[in-house]
């Protein structure tokens, strides 16, 4: 895979992040996450070729591009939540924050040079994705969106780790993916319970524990 393709993929990821922040429907959110997972697999293959790279990329693409969104999709259907993403302070604010995050990521990238040959946009793309995930967690009402945000964050972190794939034992990354699978599973169960107990998955109802 050529460097330009890689950098195109990074661009796509960055743009995806911004669209993610502006998405108003849950369905779109899930689709975008899935797309991001697939892109992640693509980048993994591009950055670390070889059999290990392929295995990891395959696992990433399957899990992040397929299974996780599917799990969340199922959860969303089962809890019967509305399609609307409920943001704090409007979607525009999220996009603005995302743009700010991109700026921050570029700024950090300029100061922290990767000690490895990697696509030039990898670092900003990864950091932007992490920040976008954080924004999804912080600036959304629904528990489900928070899980999506968490996954997005993890996507970013994985993106950051792609140049390292194959440097250390591959099974570690697989284990980490497995862990994430369990995490999404457990969170999904928790969302079921939240729905049953609160008649809603709006985390703003979580206000009884405070000082």
């Amino acid at each position: 895979m050529t460097a330009s393709t890689l950098s195109l993929a990074c661009w796509a990821i960055i743009l995806g992040d911004l669209i993610l922040l502006g998405a108003g429907r849950m369905r779109h959110l899930l689709l975008l996450t899935a797309a991001q997972g697939l892109l992640l697999g693509l980048v993994t293959v591009g950055v670390s070729p070889g059999i290990e790279g392929y295995i990891v990329a395959g696992a990433v693409a399957t899990l992040k591009g397929g299974i996780f969104p599917w799990l969340l999709w199922r959860t969303m259907r089962q809890v019967g939540t509305s399609e609307i993403v409920e943001p704090f302070m409007g979607l525009g604010t999220s996009i603005l924050v995302g743009l700010g995050g991109l700026g921050l990521a570029l700024w950090i990238d300029a100061r922290l040079l990767l000690p490895i040959a990697a696509p030039p946009l990898l670092m900003p793309a990864a950091l932007t994705t992490v920040l976008a995930g954080l924004v999804l967690i912080v600036l959304r009402h629904k528990a489900l969106t928070q899980v999506i945000g968490y996954l997005t964050m993890e996507n970013g972190i994985f993106l950051l780790g792609t140049p390292l794939a194959g440097h250390d034992a591959m099974w570690i990354e697989l284990l980490i993916l497995l862990d994430l699978l369990v995490a999404v599973f457990v969170m999904g169960i928790a969302i079921h319970h939240i729905r049953r107990t609160f008649d809603s998955i709006d985390v703003d109802r979580f206000c009884s524990l405070r000082d």
């Binding site: 922290l112 967690i137 912080v138 985390v203 009884s208 000082d211």
Partner: protein
């Protein structure tokens, strides 16, 4: 022998706590206490070997028995045995339905702690003993824990004890920095080091809180009255001594620092003494009066220490010796008479159910033994011959008087100020003592509670009588007592200069006491020979022509203090509010006296401010998960930006 004492106290505490509500629990503790105290007294007075070690996690765990320790152990064990006997009688009605075993277990723990404090030869053992001694009274004070005020007092005690202890912990941790935890190492490494000043300040804070020095005294007038009376006697008569001991030991370890510490201690002591005396003058709860009297006496003792240090700093050895001797002697006497007074008030509480002066009166008729013992206690406290209180006060006066001749003008002024202040304090003590005894014991009962007062069993009368007798004996045998105090002061001051004038002075004061006793005996015999002794007619008190006086018309506790309160006592924060009835036929009017301690008010405002501050910061745990995650990210980002200098 030391192991017998410590071991029996430890084992006794454990077994007694296990014995619980059974009869064994009621008797085992005091029995062990008396036995341990007897052995301890033997140890104190014998020529026991000087040092021992126990393995402990930190430090060497060393114990040592030097003259200073012996001096402090003496009242501890003597008082412990007496108070133990008293406690059996005081708590007899609780046998079977209260957890007496636990109570006595805590008393034993308290004694274990105090013994360890006195015996400690390294910082860790000292702290260990100190905290054991500090914590156990929390449970003892809260004996009547169904009353909210007692619970409050116990908690205040705990907080004060712990905060004071914390100051000591840091103090010793500082002192251990250069050489380690053992006292020997501190003695060599500490003097002259800049750490010594800091450590000493912390020691003064911690020990001052324990001894009830201004402004850390506020817990004492709450906790001592709330405790059962034998515990009050222990705390006020014996436990406060540990504060003084800690201070003295700290001074010794820091190499007896110079004029600054002396002046500070002198001023703190004087302020404490004056404040305590004034408060004792205006309070109306007998146990609070005694507690403030403890504050005042601790002030006097610290005044002595400060004087001694000043003397040392200016090269006046005699003044130094007089100051420290005065402190040591007065401490011993205070242990005797304050325990005695608390035991006496305990009898009053036991038989009448109250210690509020305005509800009492007429007890001298009803409690002849107790009232006589109390009279001795009051007279001793006021330094009236022929009782021992005089000796410490004269020594203190002497120390200050010699200081008026110092070459250094500041020191002279301090000494003269101390002298005059001390004179004022001694006048106030007499007035306060008369007030306490006169209102409590004299006149007619002011309420039905006092009407039916009866003398308690001998187990309560006996200990008081023993202490009263000791108050007299300690005066008559003052030269002997001084003989024990001299080596104790020597631990601090080294070899003594020529002290024969001091020794002779004390001997002569003892003679004065003896002669006063003789004169009184002669007068007593002479009175029997004169008419009107046995055949006195009885007629009601002179009532100025008003035919229907009631006991309520007697002078009240605050009324008695009113002239002094008006003259110099407003600093106590007491207030008199007169509420008159209104209208043409005003029906009901009242006078309300509040005796709140203003310094306590300052502390409670401080605590309140901390609480409010904390409450104001509690929004941080606001409950919104999104913001929590936001904080997490912000902290990370902030640390990155700050630390990597981007």
């Amino acid at each position: 022998m030391v192991w017998w004492v410590l071991g029996s106290l430890t084992a006794g505490a454990v077994v007694s706590a296990m014995a619980g509500r059974s009869r064994l629990g009621a008797i085992l503790g005091p029995a062990v206490l008396v036995a341990a105290c007897a052995v301890g007294l033997g140890l104190t007075l014998s020529n026991a070997p000087e040092g021992w070690t126990i393995p402990l996690p930190v430090g060497a765990g060393a114990l040592r028995l030097d003259a200073l320790t012996r001096w402090f152990l003496l009242p501890l064990f003597a008082g412990g045995a007496v108070v133990g006997c008293y406690g059996v009688g005081y708590l007899h009605h609780a046998v079977g339905h209260r957890h007496l075993g636990g109570h006595w277990g805590m008393v034993l723990l308290l004694f274990l702690g105090m013994s360890l404090v006195f015996l400690a030869d390294d910082g860790f053992v000292f702290l260990l003993g100190w905290e054991m001694m500090s914590i156990s009274p929390f449970f003892l004070v809260a004996w009547e824990d169904t009353e909210a005020s007692v619970r409050e007092a116990a908690w205040e005690y705990l907080v004060a004890a712990h905060l004071g202890g914390a100051a000591l912990v840091v103090g010793f941790a500082l002192a251990a920095v250069p050489g380690g935890w053992s006292f020997a190492a501190m003695r060599t490494a500490l003097p002259g080091s800049p750490l010594a000043t800091a450590a000493l300040l912390l020691w003064m804070l911690g020990c001052g809180a324990k001894a009830g020095l201004l402004p850390a005294h506020v817990w004492l007038p709450e906790a001592h009255p709330a405790a059962p009376s034998h515990i009050s006697a222990l705390m006020s008569g014996l436990m406060v001594n540990t504060g003084i001991y800690g201070l003295l030991r700290g001074l010794e370890l820091a190499g007896l620092p110079g004029a600054g510490a002396g002046a500070a201690l002198l001023l703190i002591g004087l302020a404490t003494a004056l404040y305590g005396a004034l408060q004792a003058m205006v309070q109306t709860n007998a146990k609070r009066i005694l507690a403030f009297s403890t504050v005042e006496n601790m002030g006097l003792i610290v005044l002595g220490i400060g004087t001694g240090l000043l003397g040392l700093a200016h090269g006046q050895e005699v003044t130094a010796w007089l100051g420290f001797l005065a402190a040591l002697m007065h401490l011993f006497h205070h242990s005797l008479f304050k325990s005695l007074l608390f035991l006496g008030v305990g009898v009053v509480l036991e038989t009448t159910g109250t210690v509020h002066l305005n509800e009492l009166g007429g007890l001298a008729q009803r409690l002849p033994w107790t009232s006589r013992c109390m009279a001795v206690g009051v007279a001793t406290g006021a330094g009236i011959p022929p009782f021992c209180g005089l000796i410490g006060e004269v020594l203190l006066f002497a120390a200050l008087a010699t200081g008026v001749g110092f070459p250094d003008a500041t020191a002279r002024a301090l000494m003269a100020g101390g002298f005059v202040g001390l004179a004022l304090v001694s006048g106030l003590i007499l007035a306060g003592g008369v007030r306490l005894f006169g209102i409590l014991m004299g006149g007619a009962p002011r309420s039905a509670k006092a009407q039916t007062a009866k003398e308690p069993s001998w187990s309560m009368r006996g200990p008081a009588a023993i202490l009263a007798a000791s108050c007299w004996l300690a005066a008559i045998a003052a030269p002997l007592v001084l003989g024990l105090a001299l080596p104790a002061a020597g631990v601090l001051l080294g070899t003594a200069p020529d002290l024969t004038p001091v020794v002779r002075m004390v001997a002569q004061i003892a003679q004065v006491a003896l002669v006063v006793t003789a004169v009184l005996v002669v007068l007593f015999l002479a009175r029997r020979a004169l008419p009107g002794h046995a055949d006195a007619r009885s007629f009601r008190t002179w009532d100025c022509g008003f035919a229907a006086p009631t006991p309520r018309m007697q002078y009240t506790a605050f009324g008695f203090a009113h002239p002094l309160w008006r003259a110099i006592g407003r600093i106590t924060g007491s207030q008199v509010m007169v509420r008159l009835g209104h209208g043409y036929f005003p029906a009901h009017g009242e006078v309300v006296v509040s005796t709140a301690d203003p310094i306590r008010g300052v502390w409670s405002r401080l605590f309140e401010a901390v609480r409010l501050g904390c409450d104001a910061l509690k929004w941080f745990q606001h409950g919104r998960i999104q913001l929590y995650v936001c904080t997490l990210a912000a902290v990370l980002l902030g640390l990155l930006l700050w630390q990597l200098g981007w």
